[in-house]
Symmetry: C2
Subunit: 236 residues, 2 copies
DNA sequence: CGATAATTTGATGTGGCTCAACCTACGTGG
DNA sequence: CCACGTAGGTTGAGCCACATCAAATTATCG
């Protein structure tokens, strides 16, 4: 049950029932956390990793003035800080955006998996490298795209990820991020994010109504922002 | 011999002589590649990973106009595309900057390691996550720092990495990147890179003479660009 | 010594930031 | 059920960091 969305549409078929059962028994606790709560702080040593069952979680780093740069936005099915298992401590903060249902997996249980189930271990490794591939795309986005394309690119990524876990029908999905959050993800001020969203709407590409995102013309949007989903390693 | 610099100053002490010998025998070939050569292209399936013994290698992505964004710069001791082992194909290009000495490790040999040596496997996993941590710092750099701080931050990172493998004395090191390369790493035009380098020199922080970088005042430079090396996981 | 790549400099344009105000939605308590 | 407080969203005016374009200068290397 818990890991129903784990690597869904990725290489889940390479996970045996046995593997999934093993993961399931590795969970020490499932709990619900309210929105806007810090889950882990930069520098703190961690002893378990967090798997996201439901909700939205972000990872971020602050500059010296406290301005925030998001480095990842997580959706159900993501093993949020699995990289903390080999690294032992985090180089950034982790916080919920919405109310979240999470599963905690102690690192001791992961040791057991690595020692006895090399195939499953390799899949866990794979899942951390998906995050790294997304990081690279974020570097590209921030370094090479202008503001409107950065915004479009961000939404294209989120949509593809949500679709892979059945949370988007390809044009409409729920995403309760404020414009300030979006700005922190795309490296721009909330004011400019507001203008870019208006521009995208006026161009008939996408619009945001309350927490609902509607991609009016997804393929045109993808063209605008040079979005190629291959880095997400989604199959089928 | 080959892996003398692998994870040096990281957690190398956790690698046994046996582990190192195993890595060594996993190498199928050691070769020398001239500078400015493409080693692997985006999308191509790969069957071996490349370990960098000597030289500088970069990874990058191109936008639709061919403008390049570097996503990583590698120094000796880096396992350049080890992430290609679980991922099976690359989401970016890889190219040499200088003449390089590299070791090729077939993925079949890595399978053997993962199946029989969980501790070594976890160290390999760890090394791919170091790259991910650097990616995150690059996201922060591009999203939150102004041009001069981006440049300083880039040099601080390179210096720390080179120092960890004995290629920097803490103030002076060799780095044969053109100003165009540097611009592609820091998300700015070569013209602006040139002006930022002048500015850094005039402020007495660092200067570049030919291929030699001299950090005149490293701690002031680190302050300017909010550089905190903890994300590099260098010990001692 | 000539060809080519890299660096440097100047002039001008503009994308996105800053600052400031106002508007709207919504939750809370009276 | 309304009054009010607060967070989020919207809009405008002005400015500045960085891009662009163009040309000159300096290294590098056959």
């Amino acid at each position: 049950m818990i890991f129903d969305d784990f690597l869904r549409q990725r290489r889940r078929n390479q996970l045996s029932q046995d593997d999934l059962a093993t993961l399931e028994t590795a969970v020490s606790e499932v709990r619900t956390v309210p929105g806007r709560r810090t889950l882990a702080e930069k520098g703190a040593p961690i002893t378990f990793s967090t798997y996201l069952i439901e909700g939205i979680i972000c990872r971020y780093m602050d500059d010296r003035d406290g301005a925030r740069q998001l480095v990842a936005v997580h959706v159900p099915g993501d093993f949020v800080d699995l990289h903390g298992y080999p690294l032992k401590r985090l180089d950034h903060d982790v916080a919920t955006i919405t109310t979240c249902k999470i599963a905690c997996v102690p690192h001791g249980a992961l040791d057991e998996i690595v020692a006895t189930r090399p195939k499953l271990a390799k899949m866990l490794w794979f899942s951390t490298l998906l995050d790294a591939a997304m990081h690279r795309e974020w570097i590209f986005r921030l370094g090479r795209l202008d503001a409107i394309a950065r915004v479009g690119h961000f939404f294209c990524e989120i949509e593809a990820k949500l679709r892979a876990v059945g949370r988007s029908d390809g044009s409409t999905f729920l995403l309760p991020l404020t414009q300030a959050d979006l700005g922190e993800a795309c490296g721009m001020t909330p004011v400019h994010m507001n203008r870019m969203l208006r521009e995208l709407k006026e161009q008939g590409l996408m619009e945001v109504r309350r927490d609902i995102v509607i991609m009016t013309d997804r393929s045109a949007l993808m063209r605008l922002c040079e979005f190629d989903p291959s880095y997400l390693f989604i199959e089928g």
